[in-house]
Symmetry: C2
């Protein structure tokens, strides 16, 4: 009698999803989502001071979240004088949709 298998051998994918995971990790915080949504819907840049004014976080914490978003490549920053302005990266939405496609449809 042959060994019983629980199921026909399914392909468990062995691709490297670490970059996609890093992207989703950047979005895995409600305050960072509020920042990204504000940038997307403002359709332009927003000054750091507006985030520190409006978010329920202290200034170093806002700076910390902005750094994580900046390092993920989803947002960019530009200093003008004393102020620093953040914008959504032009390809932010496309990169996220691409990651979703990679997961759900196997695109790369």
């Amino acid at each position: 009698m042959s060994i019983q298998r629980c199921c026909p051998p399914k392909r468990v994918i062995k691709a490297d999803y670490s970059e996609d995971a890093a992207l989703f990790q950047a979005l895995a915080d409600e305050n960072r989502l509020a920042i990204v949504a504000s940038l997307a819907q403002a359709d332009g840049e927003i000054c750091v001071c507006d985030f520190t004014d409006c978010l329920p976080l202290n200034q170093p914490t806002v700076s910390h979240h902005l750094r994580i978003l900046r390092e993920s490549g989803l947002v960019t920053s530009e200093r003008r004088g004393t102020w620093v302005y953040y914008s959504l990266a032009p390809d932010a939405k496309r990169r996220l949709q691409q990651s979703l496609r990679a997961i759900f449809e196997g695109d790369e």
Copy 2:
């Protein structure tokens, strides 16, 4: 002389993104992404034993990740006999796309 503002007052959004953040957090791990991608591309159920066989993780760790995905609602499970089979939730992709839209376009 009036107080100088760094910029015209931009709307920093105060919506509650905690549910979207939870969804992205479920995807913020490369092993969980591999699980979701396998389920999506298998277009059907996959037995836990296949994950424990193929992922570079021990069995309790696989079970832990499956639980996180199950609790996020992105996957479902069904026991048949000794084995447990996991499937992608039918609305998984739609929920994620909806979250992306909520962030980038302000839909709710």
